[in-house]
């Protein structure tokens, strides 16, 4: 193998590593944005939901059990959005 072709192979390898690095960096950045943005809405939503549930329980302590069950259901539905954001994060970061 000639020195020239060896050099050419090395250069090509360096190019692919650089491209991979750039791609990984972009993916990591995208993953961070994806999860960060996905967490905003559910964060606000769960805060509002739990606050209202606590208010309801404080006003009518006798219905606390019912309110609590419904609150967990609401949290589960709201949280799903954040979790889908998390899955997107995993897909972008690790795949």
């Amino acid at each position: 193998m000639s020195t020239l072709s060896q050099l050419a192979a090395l250069a090509a390898e360096a190019d692919t590593t650089a491209a991979d690095d750039a791609k990984n960096a972009a993916a990591a950045q995208g993953a961070g944005y994806a999860y960060g943005l996905a967490a905003i809405g559910p964060g606000i939503g769960i805060g509002y939901l739990v606050g209202q549930a606590v208010q309801a329980m404080a006003r009518q302590p006798e219905s606390a059990g019912q309110v609590q069950t419904t609150m967990f259901l609401g949290i589960a539905f709201t949280e799903a959005l954040a979790l889908i954001g998390f899955v997107v994060f995993i897909l972008l970061k690790f795949v």
């Binding site: 899955v87 995993i90 897909l91 690790f94 795949v95």
Partner: protein, 175 residues
Amino acid sequence: MNLMLVLAAEDAGDPPNPVIPEINEIVWAAIFFIALWTLMKYVLLPPITRAMENRANTIQGDRDAADAATASLGSTRRDYEGSLADARNEANEIIAAARASADERRSALQAEADAEIAELRRSAQSEIDQARADALSGMSGDVATLAVSAAGAVLGRSLDAGAQQSVIDQALAAE
């Protein structure tokens, strides 16, 4: 992220996607969960729910029995209190009767004693009267004789005893 692409990449030997399930884990999860569900349905859960229902029924039965016992306790207590009141009344009656007979007896004894005392007093009084009368009659004779003799001695002469006697008698009577 295309699923087919991901699957193709996995076939090519790249690091597996953490989100795509592995077929062997799906198989084991399905086997074990369906086994648990079947066991739960036919073996594990029925005895426990039956036992819990039995216990609930037993507790309900015991509670009913306790309610009945409480009700009968009320009637027994009423009976007991009734008989207690009867006994108390009877005792009161007995005490009252005893007190009455004792009073009666005491008053009878008292009357008897009073009568006896009165009798004694009366006899003593009559004795005293008798003695006084005796003493008076005895004393009048002696006093007359003494006075006549004393007067005779003073006058120096023998007075007519008979005439003086009548004068002394008059004086005594006037006294």
